[in-house]
């Protein structure tokens, strides 16, 4: 009887939530009336509902970097493993619950000694080998790959990022190849990067802790005042992608959104040259606010 009631309740809930979806598009359009006009409407490469599989819809937005796929692979592996072990647990609970439910005249089996424990030992070791070993290996290897090394060299695009409450500031070297000089390109909330080149970021927060993440890149790093954080990636697909702040940074944390524009190499060079010239021309040595860059170092 109870089960029926629960089932009815759940179906009601389900139906209600579907019904309310009719209002969604309208409401969201009211919030973002400009969305249709801006070319950024295809952000995150997320097509309208009704095209892709469930997994695609409820996974992170499309991966656009060289190494991003690796993270998806690890996640998939762990998730499958977790699912299998969890189903084993559910079978244990529901299955044993059903098989050994109390009936008149039933007597439980008095367990003692080591005999049966061998089974649990074996299961535990199996778990360790399939899950832990895989994860430890990749954790250590990826720490080395992503957290310990930073790409260097003339081909690497180096950008300094300074998040503050509640915008993202970006600084490029400009034509002279040195940071913190008059021809630096400084943008707010817009980061241009060339397709197919390593991008290396140094991040330093101006005020509180922020978190730099482009979901399409699959990795994030915290921006901490007084410390330089580093992240690097190689984008391999053109488009405009959102940058999210992943660490609570105050009231407008939810609106701290930037855009990463991945463009063709030649477009990037043109943009870079134009902006650098423009910056050098407009440079005002007395405006202290624009001198926030730092020595790149390593």
């Amino acid at each position: 009887m109870n089960q029926k009631l629960v089932r009815i309740l759940l179906s009601l809930v389900f139906l209600m939530s579907f019904g309310s979806m009719a209002n969604d598009r309208e409401m969201l359009n009211k919030q973002h009336p400009e969305a249709d006009q801006l070319q950024v409407h295809t952000l995150g490469q997320r097509p309208e509902y009704g095209g892709e599989s469930f997994l695609e819809r409820y996974g992170p937005p499309e991966n656009i970097t060289e190494h991003g796929g690796h993270f998806d692979d690890v996640f998939a592996y762990v998730s499958w493993g977790v699912l299998i072990f969890f189903l084993a647990v559910v079978f244990g609970v529901v299955g044993f619950g059903w098989m050994y439910r109390s009936k008149p005249g039933r007597k439980a089996f008095y367990t003692t000694g080591l005999a049966e424990k061998k089974f649990t030992m074996v299961l535990d070791i199996l778990f360790f080998i399939t899950m832990d070993c895989y994860l430890i290996y990749f954790s250590v290897y990826d720490t080395k790959r992503f957290l310990m090394t930073v790409p260097q060299g003339p081909e690497v695009v180096e950008i300094q990022v300074m998040p503050q409450q509640w915008v993202w500031n970006f600084r490029y070297k400009g034509a002279d190849g040195v940071f913190n000089t008059p021809d630096d390109i400084v943008t707010v909330n817009e980061m241009w990067v060339p397709n197919g080149k390593q991008v290396s970021l140094q991040i330093k927060s101006k005020d509180v802790i922020h978190g730099f993440m482009v979901p399409n890149v699959r990795r994030q790093v915290d921006a901490i005042p007084g410390q330089v954080s580093r992240i690097w990636f190689k984008p391999i697909k053109d488009g405009t992608y959102e940058i999210a702040c992943m660490h609570l940074c105050g009231t407008a944390h939810y609106k701290m959104k930037g855009f990463m524009k991945v463009v063709d190499e030649s477009d990037y060079q043109n943009w870079s040259r134009e902006m650098s010239e423009w910056s050098a021309a407009k440079y005002d040595p007395d405006d202290a606010r624009t001198h926030w860059g730092w020595q790149w170092g390593i």
């Binding site: 969201l28 609970v93 439980a108 649990t120 994860l135 979901p215 939810y254």
Partner: protein
């Protein structure tokens, strides 16, 4: 140096009345030294705050499901300036306070304060705690902390709004002005002190006041859980206290412990990351503090209601101990994105993943306890099974977060929120319910309605699974936590449906708790009178009459058996349990 005998004289409590029978209303219910009364004080304190915290979570889920819509009925009362719509600054206060209240003012007082206080002396055969005055002081200090936190909700610039983890530099006076967060710190400081006092009491009591014959092997797993919790409490809350004290100094006296070079005066050497280290050195053991008592209790309940021994009980206790030890050295997995040295990162991730081994041991032992049992689906059993399932999925998803690659993807997303709620909130909540349903007859002398309990279970457990598994899906899709309106980001817009589904489940789960409250208060007054051992279980507290007299035991019992001697062949066919105090050849060992 020490004269052992004189030291023992101080604590010679076995046959002494530690305190006389109280007579006045004040000494019976308000300023009481009796651990059973103090347990109830903690219970009502915790229930009040649990309601406040749960209501806050309803508001949070409302904002995520229906952004821009006014909260019904009480919305315009609570948020008059925005016509009932929850504004962003209030939202940040809500999730901060929800986390703080649930951890420090709801779960800790009920699971550790109430159940620890009530069960420990009774289950080990003592008349009361070793330090009754300290016990009472612990409650009143908790109460004082509650008053301060309550006051912080009404200060002009608003309550604390920096997340329950209170990271600087957001938590500094410059970015969180006003008294709200300073009062928050003071309140947590008081709570922390109360916890330490309680922890010292529990450890000392368990070590010194066990009845003769109650060896470590015969100790119920509930007591093991409570003991290890107390050890972690005593050792690691001081670290939190230190970290918070330095933050308070920074806020109030202009010191610069956590302020780093560019933004503090005169280029000082403070470091916001120092706070994170200190906080998580406390923070990680804290989550084990919250779950260990529930683990211990569930281990016992599974045995009690399968009517067979706890499978591998010694291994379970051993697993608890090794988890306690390991939990102290894994805290860095909260900080993988902060640019810690790679050596530390690698060490933390390896140790974190290794915790899965002892966890697996006791978890599989739970399943082994069910195997070939004679399972009775009473309400404590249902809730214990709920713990097994929710902790199963919650704990397994810890693998995603403990490994570096997936952590870099999922850090600060709703995946984390789903994971920690399942392991820390749901498993301990269901464990707490199991414990309350189990010990209610002993505490209040009445039986709770089993029918209502079962409805409560299903209408809580199923929606809860929907909520938090849904959150993990949302997190994987990229939704970050502590976010007022995720739909600002176009890549999150499509999650409105999912969030709405989760929220409706949350409202249902919230409503279901009223069934429990109704059951609780109705049965307290008008329930069926309970006998002294309605569950037919052998641990020591069930050898007392119901209601339990102030001095607990007329004669301090002698313990011959373990707590899980169910269905022993030597018991014959007429019964399947034996009390810990009954001597039977073939089962018992002499004192």
């Amino acid at each position: 140096m020490s004269d052992n005998k004189s030291f023992q004289d101080l604590f010679h409590a076995h046959d002494d009345h530690l305190h006389g029978e109280p007579t006045s209303f004040i000494s019976k219910y308000i300023i009481s030294y009796d651990h059973k009364v103090i347990a109830k004080q903690f219970l009502f304190f915790g229930l009040f705050w649990a309601f406040v915290g749960a209501f806050m979570s309803v508001l949070i889920r409302w904002a995520l499901a229906f952004p821009g819509k006014a909260f019904p009925i009480v919305g315009s009362l609570l948020f008059p300036h925005t016509d009932g719509v929850i504004p962003p600054d209030a939202y940040t206060m809500l999730f901060t306070m929800h986390g703080t209240i649930m951890i420090f003012f709801a779960i800790t007082p009920i699971l550790i304060g109430t159940l620890g206080n009530f069960c420990i002396p009774l289950m080990i055969g003592a008349r009361d705690m070793l330090f009754p005055w300290l016990n009472m002081a612990s409650f009143w200090m908790t109460f004082a902390g509650g008053v301060v936190m309550f006051a912080s909700l009404f200060v002009p610039l608003g309550a604390s709004a920096v997340g329950w983890t209170s990271y600087p530099t957001l938590a500094h006076a410059q970015w969180s002005p006003g008294w709200g967060h300073s009062l928050w710190i003071i309140s947590i400081f008081l709570m922390g002190n109360a916890s330490i006092m309680g922890a010292i009491n529990y450890i000392a009591t368990i070590i010194r006041l066990r009845a003769p014959g109650l060896t470590a092997a015969k100790l119920p797993l509930t007591i093991w859980g409570l003991l290890l919790t107390a050890v972690l409490n005593a050792l690691f809350i001081p670290v939190l206290a230190a970290g918070l004290l330095l933050l308070l100094m920074d806020r109030m006296f202009g010191t610069s412990f956590y302020l780093a070079a560019a933004i503090s005066q005169n280029g000082t050497q403070g470091d916001p990351i120092l706070y994170q280290h200190l906080f998580w050195i406390f923070g990680h053991p804290e989550v084990y503090i919250i779950i260990l008592p529930a683990w211990g209790m569930v281990s016992d309940f599974l045995s009690f209601f399968s009517r067979k021994p706890a499978f591998g009980a010694k291994w379970t206790a051993g697993a608890f101990i090794s988890i306690t030890l390991l939990s102290t050295v894994v805290y860095g997995h909260h900080m993988f994105t902060t640019g810690m040295s790679p050596l530390l990162t690698g060490a933390f991730t390896t140790l974190t993943l290794l915790i899965s081994i002892p966890s697996g041991i006791f978890f599989l032992n739970w399943l082994g306890t069910l195997w070939r049992g004679n399972i009775q689906f009473t309400s404590p059993m249902l809730f214990s099974l709920g713990v097994v399932i929710t902790f199963g999925i919650g704990g397994l998803t810890g693998l995603h977060l403990g490994a570096v690659p997936t952590n870099l993807l999922l850090h600060n997303s709703y995946f984390v929120v789903g994971h920690f709620h399942l392991t820390m909130a749901v498993a301990s909540l269901l464990g707490t319910y199991a414990a309350v349903y189990f010990w209610f007859p002993k505490m209040f002398g009445k039986m709770l309605s089993e029918k209502l309990a079962k409805i409560h279970f299903w209408t809580s457990f199923l929606p809860i699974m929907v909520i938090f598994v849904g959150m993990m899906v949302a997190g994987y899709a990229g939704m970050h936590r502590r976010i007022y309106n995720p739909y600002e980001y176009t890549y999150l817009e499509h999650l409105l449906f999912l969030n709405r589904y989760i929220s409706l489940a949350a409202f249902l789960a919230f409503a279901s708790q009223f069934i429990f409250l109704f059951n609780f208060f109705y049965s307290w007054k008008k329930g069926e009178v309970a006998g002294s051992n309605p569950w037919k279980v052998g641990t020591l507290e069930w050898t007392t009459p119901t209601p339990v007299p102030v001095h607990n035991f007329d004669v301090i019992p002698e313990v011959f058996n373990g707590p899980h001697e169910f269905s022993h062949p030597k018991l014959g066919d007429s019964r399947d349990w034996i009390s810990q105090t009954e001597y039977l050849e073939g089962i018992s060992t002499p004192v």
